[in-house]
């Protein structure tokens, strides 16, 4: 029959089968190549890590403002709760005092965060030596980078930044996760705790810029643990 007509419930005419079957195989093969190409071209998710199977402890001074953190003699460790919640409420009773913080460690480029263990095990009052007086230095800056929620970006999600992650980042910030401003300066990536121009936690009016490339003007405060970026103004770059 050189006039093939296909009816679903009859066997397919051989001429049609000879035409369609190779085409179907080619289409499937193209699909597989496409899958490989699309997967291969994804942006790298960055060097964040979260070892959520081991608990570790750090001793230091509890700092509740602007965000929950622990200052040890050598570094600053951000503190968060499980899920998309900050740990400020849990930290407030210890504010300014010695504390042992226990939890699982998130880390990216040397920036550390603990997801606190449940209950009393997470924070225990201890004696620590008083901090030696540290000098703060404030410099006016204009930086181009991205506002991120620290927990996802440091390793809870991979990748934990960018436009596709924006909704999640806003939810995290609303829940009290500290925002970081990540900017590449002279080839190295800087991670700055972001606050409003008065040094208070960022509010809703800044959340709309999360996950996008923005230019920030403000004051960079260094010299006392994790540098803080007090944001005066933000605008979208590009």
């Amino acid at each position: 029959m050189n006039d093939p007509h296909f009816i679903g419930w009859f066997p397919m005419p051989p001429a049609l089968r000879r035409f369609l079957l190779p085409l179907a195989l080619v289409a499937v093969a193209l699909g597989l190549i496409l899958a490989g190409g699309l997967a291969y071209s994804q942006r790298p998710p960055g060097p964040g890590r979260w070892d959520d199977s081991h608990e570790v402890s750090f001793d230091g001074i509890a700092v509740a403002e602007p965000y929950a953190m622990l200052r040890t003699p050598t570094e600053t460790i951000l503190l968060v709760e499980a899920g998309k919640f900050g740990a400020k409420d849990r930290l407030l009773p210890f504010d300014g005092n010695g504390v042992r913080a226990t939890g699982t460690l998130l880390e990216r480029d040397g920036v550390k965060m603990l997801e606190l263990a449940d209950g009393d095990a997470g924070l225990q009052a201890i004696e620590v030596k008083a901090e030696s007086a540290l000098e703060e230095v404030t410099t006016p800056v204009t930086l181009v980078g991205e506002l991120v929620d620290s927990k996802c970006y440091l390793g809870a999600m991979k990748p934990g930044g960018g436009k596709t992650h924006k909704g999640c980042a806003i939810l995290c910030l609303r829940g009290g996760i500290p925002p970081l401003f990540v900017a590449k300066v002279d080839g190295t990536v800087g991670y700055y705790l972001a606050t409003d121009s008065h040094g208070r936690p960022l509010g809703e009016d800044h959340f709309e810029f999360v996950g996008e490339r923005v230019t920030v003007t403000g004051q960079l405060v260094t010299g006392r643990g994790r540098p803080i970026l007090k944001i005066d103004s933000v605008r979208r770059s590009r």
Binding site: D3, P4, G31, G37, A39, S41, P45, K158, G176, E208
Partner: protein, 349 residues
Amino acid sequence: MSVTYRPVKWNRNKRIYDAILAAGIAGYLAVFLAVGSLIFGDEAIGFPILLMRALGTAAFVLLHVALAIGPLARLDRRFLPVLYNRRHLGVATFLLALGHAAIAFGYYHGFGLINPIVSLLTANSNYSSLAGFPFEILGLLALVILFLMAATSHDFWQKTLGPSVWKSLHMLAYPAYGLIVLHVALGALQSETQSIYAILLVAGFATVAGLHLAAGRRERNKDRRIPLDVAWIDVGNADDIPMDRAKVVSTPAGERVAIFRHAGGISAVTNVCAHQRGPLGEGKVVDGCISCPWHGWEYRPEDGCSPPPFQERIATYRVRLDGRRVFLNPEPLPPGTPVEPARLPGGNS
């Protein structure tokens, strides 16, 4: 056109079709996941995100295929069998998109302070900025459309909604496609760094649009325009119509009529199938019935009725012969009206 409805009436062709479809989807996901989890070594992309991307891209690729089949089949009849079971492709597209959305929703909007649905709808309200636009909403709208289409893809719904409502509903595939293009452009493309994604997005759009334009142009050329005052239309020589096949002409009112030559003579019916408006004129007379090229619904050429127990009816038209020239009366008769076939002198074949 069964009288009782079953979820799927299986046959060998559908099984082969679905087997190829399932193998294609499984292979796609497997390759995407394998490549995606290997490329960055121990700084790997998180599995939920990788899976979400695999599902989302798979759904988008399948949607391209589903949209390309229609014009392909109009350009070359040999693609018709692929159209036959397109609904399974559509349902698969919806399920993949649903998986994609479920992961994005649970992972990005769960575990937080706010109800995930509220979070999804209120996290971002930057409707005035392109770079910041809440692309999630676009995807959600497309998903709702895909759901409606998948849910009503069964013949039962087609019958219940009627062919024109059903067809309009399923034309929403195009807005859904547009929404997904924007969802990708304002979402993933804003954070991905490789230009291949933008290139493929444009290439996909160009392919779908190009095929539709080509098929549309071809159809327009085939429609011979006939002056309005002609009572009977000269269709041409009966010998130009292959046996058991049809010639399609347009009436002055803009309706397409399929004029079949079959063992009984020459008969004319509407070109529009009562099922999903398939082009009956591209079908064939098999065992005395016109068989629709899309899903095989059948109609008798002499009265436009489906053979019992089916009850479908389509409009018929009067034809007459002058020698071997065929003339068509462009007034459609009510669906199911018997019309005596015009008999060719010296036999019909």
